[in-house]
Symmetry: C2
Subunit: 452 residues, 2 copies
């Protein structure tokens, strides 16, 4: 067994490759390049809502950055999209007394026609709200509470918690309510609302305003409700759809030395929610993947395959850049030998998972051993999905890996005003870059086919 | 030496007293009363700016609470005060691009006459600003940066950091600037501005708007400034003085069984800044001192001296309740045998300091030994000041002690929207109540005179 294992090892990664990967990791750990990139993006561009003028500035920034780092063919691939603008919001408790609430409109929400001041009907969670009768709450404001999102390394609590954000409006609107207020989907206890997109109902977005309030504000409403106090809320929101605009993906290539047509795709998303400056979501992912590829670009010899960094546009508002990429490159997706995205913050990577064929699984196993000194373990070899923007490609058969980050604190900051540069630990960011540089180099320089 | 020490001990605290104090501590640690009080205040009253209608509701709440807990003569002592109202603020970066800033008006600031949009002149710290020339910055907005407040157990960084908040406006106004923006005085890195009062210049308050922005926002402006980007800020603020209003102190007594005329005064302040709900500043202090006295009230026999709980009004806006109390009780201050206030959050007490006469210092030494199981050490015996609201009384000769709390995290929350109930740890609050109950009981039941 030992000798078979050894032979397999020799077959998939050469000693030279291993040595180069290890040197890349050592260089990455000492490099400031990742912090420089995310500092530049968050400082010089700031918040960059999908479809906004700021996102356009970010694309120009991305192309200039790519050129300065030695990428080939730095370019923008445009697409069009509907633009949702947050506008100004004022929300306060008006009964049992006047108090400001810390809220924000959810993505896709309609504006108030005029200022609303209405009694609140309390629902303990989304399950209770789904049982509401049609037209039973005309003119009321629905508040759907829920439990604070569970913290975990994997972010496992997110899917459950964000039901109230995604589909709550459909039930509130059915009930005839004037507006919906929801407990934010976040694991923190700070006075920040968490933004995020709602789900469409077929082709329809909400006709009512939908506002997320912070966990402490939701706690406050719950306590008042439990005391039997009559709750009322005053609300004015300008959020609305504003028609078609341009967005785009930024593409940076390192053309491969032997098989330039074969593409190993990595990336993050360039847009951010507009409350913070999009440092951990997803300036970090852009910085990690761009810096990793830039370190590979400095090697004496290019890897065999092309490494492509994609800075996806308009991810937050519905993976619009990802769908545009998959469509624009549809004819060439069979040449995408692997795709993976960094979009889960800036804390350390702890696990490598994959969804590739059995022979390539052996390659990923060997890569995991090389990453081991970074504190990374091998995870499942049948884990679908290489990140949100990879979904449309993976659905069309592109193989994926994922370098799973510790997401325990990610949902403290996610989509809040508090997602700013100071939240990134440079050492943790560098560990990410080391892992990407080594693993992407090894895949790009390999002859192994990864298709399942 | 041992026998002298023992004799001294026997002289100042009897075994019965020691046993009662220890029982009080054990009861306090298990009691929910403190959490119930601060939960009720923050939930049922909410934010309560000095001089507001909400602060008036808080006084009625305080009287009802005192009556329900068995205090004697629960009453309000009114005073009048000028009312400063925060009003609505909008502040954003307008160059090099549009971005919301998270700010709040500082106490005493003037409104913008109309919306301002002006170039920013950057000062690295308050020392740089104090050297500005008169009328040299007409029409500009001054931004005074500084270092993030140093975190410490004692809160030692506060005095240094809050110079920019206190006197910055005097130099900005002198320079002819249209407005002053300052880095918040806070030790956190969250996107919350810290409010707080400015200092008067003689009898004059600022004629210009003065806005504190969060630490991450200030970091952002600093980085843009260091990149040489031209900064401009757009600003509209409604904060202003609105004339004389009523406020008051709530007084709750436990009349002493042998020397009712001798008063041991404890308390906190009932008002809060209006951004949060005043949980750690100073709902906690009100809860700690009221609960401690209420536990003493349940003893089979009242202590010899009167214990008085004062919920001071309008502390944040200039110790107005404290000055009113000292004036209204001037003729009787010689009967105030001790005064102390809890106003430094809700974390555990770690030290007992005092400013009493040498014989009474021995009493405080013995009290510290009894508190030792709570994790409290004896500190200085010549430390002036029993808390902010005690200053006017202490200046007129009233002896003081102080149960020093761990303030390491206090200035993360201090005067921000994030000062809410969820920030209080019930076990830490209970430790405070235990320490107050035991020490105040021992002083109230003592015959030792404390006057320096
Ligand atoms: Zn993201
Ligand atoms: Zn996101
Ligand atoms: Zn205070
Ligand atoms: Zn305060």
């Amino acid at each position: 067994i030992v000798s078979v294992q050894l032979m397999a090892t020799q077959a998939v990664i050469t000693n030279d490759q291993k040595q180069t990967a290890t040197q890349l990791m050592q260089t990455a750990i000492k490099s400031d390049l990742g912090m420089e990139i995310v500092t530049s993006l968050t400082t010089e561009i700031g918040p960059r809502l999908g479809g906004s003028e700021a996102e356009e500035r970010a694309r120009d920034w991305g192309v200039k950055l790519g050129e300065s780092l030695g990428f080939d063919n730095a370019r923008i691939e445009e697409f069009t999209m509907p633009f949702w603008d947050r506008g100004h919001l004022h929300i306060s408790l008006s009964s049992p007394y006047q108090q400001e609430l810390y809220g924000t409109a959810l993505g896709g929400a309609a504006p108030t026609k005029e200022k609303i001041n209405a009694d609140v009907v309390y629902f303990r969670d989304i399950h209770a709200l789904t049982e509401v009768k049609d037209n039973s709450l005309t003119g009321k404001i629905v508040f759907v509470d829920g439990d604070k999102m569970v913290k975990s390394q994997t972010g496992a609590g997110y899917g459950q918690a964000n039901q109230r954000r995604r589909i709550g409006w459909q039930h509130a609107q059915r009930s005839g309510a004037s507006a919906l207020v929801v407990r934010s989907v976040g694991s923190d206890s700070h006075r920040f609302p968490h933004s995020g997109m709602m789900s469409k109902d077929g082709e329809n977005w909400a006709d009512i305003p939908v506002i997320a309030i912070s966990n402490p504000d939701a706690d406050h409403l719950r306590r008042l409700h439990n005391l039997g106090k009559p709750l009322a809320i005053s609300l004015h929101s300008e959020s609305k759809w504003k028609g078609e605009v341009s967005s785009g993906n930024v593409i940076l290539d390192l053309i491969g030395s032997e098989k330039p047509e074969e593409i190993v795709l990595i990336g993050g998303h360039l847009d951010s929610w507009d409350l913070g400056t999009g440092a951990v979501d997803d300036g970090a992912g852009v910085a990690i993947t761009t810096a990793a590829a830039a370190l590979i670009a400095k090697l004496p010899k290019r890897p065999k395959r092309t490494i492509r960094v994609v800075m996806f546009g308009a991810e937050e508002v519905g993976l619009l850049g990802a769908f545009a990429y998959a469509k624009q490159h549809e004819a060439n997706l069979h040449n995408h030998v692997l795709a993976t995205e960094s979009d889960f913050g800036a804390q350390t990577i702890w696990q490598l998972v994959s969804n590739v064929n059995p022979q390539a699984t052996l390659l990923v196993d060997e890569i995991a051993k090389i990453l081991s000194p970074l504190g990374i373990v091998r995870g499942g070899s049948d884990v679908v999905g290489g990140g949100p923007d990879i979904i449309p490609m993976a659905a069309k058969g592109v193989p994926t890996i994922r370098l799973n980050q510790n997401g325990r604190d990610y949902f403290d900051l996610h989509h809040t005003p508090d997602d700013t540069l100071d939240k990134i630990d440079p050492d943790e960011l560098a560990q990410n870059i080391a892992a990407y540089a080594a693993s992407i180099y090894l895949i790009a320089d390999s002859d192994v086919d990864l298709k399942p």
